[in-house]
């Protein structure tokens, strides 16, 4: 598939972002996305399908997202395609959490 992921040889991507003493994950959500993907690709779909799912991200989004945002995209796509969690369920749960937060405030 000739998608945005096929980056070898592309020009103008700028300097290498080298970070000294980099943590394994930069936030809790990154760690959770990694762990949920790992747990599901071990048990529900093969890792190659996860990779393919991230390659199906629309090019504009692919090139403007971070690494674990692409993993998150792949995770959501595969959860939906394998009938594990629907996009509607995710939006509904976000709405619930948002409402609960606003009640606390």
């Amino acid at each position: 598939m000739n998608g945005p992921h096929d980056l070898g040889g592309m020009h103008s991507m700028g300097p290498i972002p080298i970070e000294e003493n980099e943590p394994v994950f930069h936030s809790e959500w990154e760690a959770k996305v990694f762990a949920m993907s790992f747990a599901t690709f071990v048990n529900y779909f093969p890792v190659d399908e996860t990779r393919h799912a991230s390659e199906r991200m629309p090019p504009g989004e692919y090139l403007s997202s971070s690494y674990y945002e692409r993993w998150l995209y792949a995770l959501e796509l595969l959860l939906a395609e394998h009938n594990l969690v629907t996009p509607d369920e995710i939006e509904a749960r976000i709405a619930e959490f948002t409402q609960a937060d606003s009640l606390i405030d």
Binding site: I16, A31, A35, R93
Partner: protein, 206 residues
């Protein structure tokens, strides 16, 4: 699918929390298993494993021969085979050849041997440039490769992962395998650095 780019961190974090709660509720994943996965990659696997392989190759010529001929087999002798490192090729840096590993398509990397890759390895800049201007890329890491030294770039894929066997530095003659392993850095095993002689390593710390 909904759009994911340019989202504030808090929005992404909330989204991830929502997915986690649904997966736990449905019994698809459990929290303890997620914590165990995170703990493994934050604390258990990492470059210290690759460093042991390199140090052994430096002190044991027979092991080194096997490692370069059949990376997968030699690494499994040490019990370090694992997820994402099932098929390994080890390439040796010499005074004539400098090797550099990349994954242009995504982030393929020997997880069981080096842990998860650093951000720079997964960056669009590294993925695109390592294969067309590796010497310039290496300069950004502070590594000047003389013109007469050949640079070989290896593009990883889903089924095949690479490890660089760096040159053993001078000044560590007679060192034990264990002590040698402390000199070996992650970047040296990707080819983005050389292993520094002990004196230089000390002065970097000081």
């Amino acid at each position: 699918m909904p759009s994911h780019h340019h989202r504030p961190e808090s929005e992404v974090a909330l989204r991830v929390k929502a997915i986690e709660s649904l997966l736990v509720e449905k019994g698809i994943v459990d929290l303890a298993a997620l914590d165990a996965i995170i703990d493994t990659y934050e604390h258990k696997v990492g470059p210290h494993i690759g460093a042991q392989i390199v140090a052994k190759a430096w002190v044991d010529p027979e092991f080194k021969k096997r490692l370069l001929a059949d990376g997968t087999g030699a690494i499994s002798e040490l019990g370090f085979t694992g997820f994402s490192s099932e098929h390994m090729v080890v390439v040796e840096n010499t005074p004539e050849v400098h090797n550099l590993i990349v994954c242009t398509l995504c982030s393929c990397y020997p997880w069981a041997i080096l842990g998860l890759p650093p951000t720079w390895y997964k960056s669009f800049a590294y993925r695109s440039r390592a294969v067309i201007e590796p010497r310039k890329v290496l300069q950004e890491f502070g590594l000047e490769i003389p013109e007469q030294v050949e640079v070989r770039v290896w593009d990883s894929n889903a089924d095949l992962r690479y490890l660089v066997l760096p040159e053993r530095p001078d000044g560590a003659e007679g060192w034990s395998e264990e002590d040698l392993a402390t000199l070996v850095t992650r970047n040296a095993m990707i080819g983005a650095a050389k292993v520094q002689p002990p004196a230089a390593a000390d002065s970097l710390v000081a």
